[in-house]
Amino acid sequence: MASGEVGSLNEIHVWTVVVASTCSLACAWVGVWLVLQRVSMIGDAISHSVLPGLVVSFLVFGTRAPAPMFLGAAVAGLATTYLTRSISSATGAKEDSSMGVVFTVLFAFGVLLITRFARQIDLDPGCVLYGLLEFVALDTRAVLGLEVPRVMETLVPALILTGGLLTLFRKEVLLMAFDPGLARTLGYRPGAVYYGLMALVAVVTVASFEAVGSILVIAMLIGPAVAANLWSRDWRSMFAIASVVAVGSSVVGYALAVATNTSVAGMMAVVVGFACGLAALVSPAGGVLQRMARLRSAKATIAAEDLLANAYRDLERSGRSHRLDDRALVARGWSDGANLTPLGLTEARRLVRGHRLVETYLVVDVGRSPEEVHESAHRAEHLLDAIQRAELLRELDSPHSDPHGSPIPREPEA
């Protein structure tokens, strides 16, 4: 008896995580497109406005079967997009304002219906917002001899539908996300793709409704996609990363929620938020830390290059020969000024050559006076490569000295 209870508890844990992962996977796949098309807040609007569609369809058909629920939600989702556009064109109001009108009104209507018909619907307004992931594993159905949570009946079709449609219309959606103009020229119908995507958002939202509710589903839609977008610019890897973040935050969120005895869906939303924060910090593609490191190394490079160039000019003025030691750039012995090793000399020549070529260019070709060109050349010398120096040289007919009369060092061998 005792072992049976432990077994069922484990089963509940496993099924809850499976439900959470299924729903966040479906959300994440749609979410990647929402983020790529920059319409995330439309996802927010639709996830709110499916509520009355859901309730009305339940009141009319009197069942929680997937088909009528999907129908009601899809109608509500399409109505949101349609009404938003109509209000915008009638008032000249910006799309986001009219969207704000439509989804808040629909949502308020849905909440009121639920409060009014609470007994028939057996949903309380609270779980409309944050779902009841804790309890979905308790309500099971036998499928092929296995006790499966009832919500999987809607989640699995939604996941398959999402994956299938997004694979089938990959090309169209991709084109819409990256180049709507080209999509139109090639004869695709951006409107159809757009409405299709919105209907898909509605379907996914409804399927996830019982588990995570209509507000926290936004975190599952947008969060994994934002994290993936911070991590990669390639849409295939974005899908992979978003899937990993979705499943990962379901597992971690569930574990944390059980440990602290709080709302699972709420904890999942928090974990997704943290995942995005983490991605923003440590992403190898433009994360904050990486950019800081790059900035620091650029600063250090520029300081070192300035030091080398100054040592070269010092040598040039004093006419001393350089000491041979190829382990360092600047040799020791600072009492009579710096001295350069062969390696340092090569680097320094490269820099001073670039500097003086730019000075010559600014005076000869641009027509600025020799006194005012040093600062510009000083900034440009760090950025020039051998090809640009060769081009400058050609442009200037191979000068031997700069406007101040200093010789232009020859190009060191690579």
Partner: protein, 294 residues
């Protein structure tokens, strides 16, 4: 009507006027959905303030909500400015994650406290039944202060909303005016939380403003109409909610505003559906009669 209902009604009208007024500027400056993000981001502040201050006096809770909104705004700004995340994705993410945190904290409060926490959930959908006169004086007073600030900064707000480029060339610091607008929006949301609730207070800043747009082309009248719409919907919502036990006031207020919106969309002169229909028919008749220059 009891004395308490009268007081609550007065507070509701002030709140509605404030939201209509601030919302008009927000809608014109394309910040409509910012209010929605702020409202959801306010949620963690309520249980946090309850846990830290150990009580649920309204000023403390509202201060917590305000701080929480500011944290959300900082996160949003960091997301938008320091990473390549788009505005709308950052908004949706902050909204949902902060709301999730709020739900987690609310559940935690339920777990640790033995009763006395019951008031916090009512902030989600709004509730007026429990409001006492001092709460109303607080929200009403804050609303009056905001309205006074708007009156003082009217010229700057108007310029920045309609022509930010000209405003900045006329020596107005657009950044500061935007910050003022954001601050006003935060205050409007915070003031609205107890009556309209986290989920729907943003609607009160958007719907009256967009509805007012049907009636007028200029800012002054728009502010007046939006304020009147806001006040009317709040008053209606509060009255119905007071007469029906267990009905949250938030959705009722929003639906009252929706009614005014629908009326405006249909019957406003010039821009309303009926007026446009009539104009179209007249044009068609004129065309058929050949009285129309091509």
């Amino acid at each position: 009507m009891t004395y308490n209902t009268g007081i609550v009604l007065l507070g509701a009208c002030l709140l509605g006027a404030l939201c209509g007024c601030v919302g008009s500027f927000a809608v014109l400056r394309r910040r409509a959905l910012m209010g929605d993000v702020m409202a959801h981001a306010a949620l963690p502040g309520l249980p946090m303030a309850y846990l830290l201050a150990g009580g649920k006096s309204l000023p403390v809770l509202l201060a917590g909500a305000g701080v929480s909104i500011l944290v959300g705004m900082v996160l949003f700004g960091a997301m938008r400015n320091r990473t390549r995340t788009q505005d709308d994705a950052a908004m949706a993410l902050v909204l949902a994650s902060m709301f999730g945190l709020g739900i987690v904290l609310l559940r935690h409060v339920q777990n640790v406290s033995t009763g006395g926490h019951a008031g916090l959930e009512s902030f989600i959908f709004g509730k007026t039944a429990g409001m006492v006169a001092s709460d109303v004086w607080l929200t009403g007073g804050m609303a009056l202060v905001c309205l006074a600030v708007i009156a003082l900064a009217y010229k700057e707000l108007r310029l920045v909303c309609f022509d930010p480029g000209f405003a900045s060339s006329a020596g107005i610091r657009v950044g500061w005016v935007d910050a003022l607008l954001t601050g006003l929006l935060v205050l409007a949301v915070v003031v609205g939380l107890p009556m309209v609730g986290v989920v729907m207070v943003a609607a009160l800043t958007i719907i009256p403003a967009v509805a007012a747009r049907f009636w007028t082309e200029s800012l002054g009248p728009m502010l007046g109409i939006a304020s009147a719409f806001g006040a009317t919907s709040c008053a209606l919502g509060v009255l119905v909610s007071a007469s029906q036990a267990g009905m949250p006031s938030g959705p009722l207020i929003v639906l009252a505003a929706a009614g005014l919106f629908a009326f405006s969309a249909l019957f406003a002169p010039r821009r309303g559906w009926v007026a446009r229909r009539i104009r179209l028919e007249r044009l068609r008749l004129a065309w058929r009669a050949g009285r129309l220059d091509p």
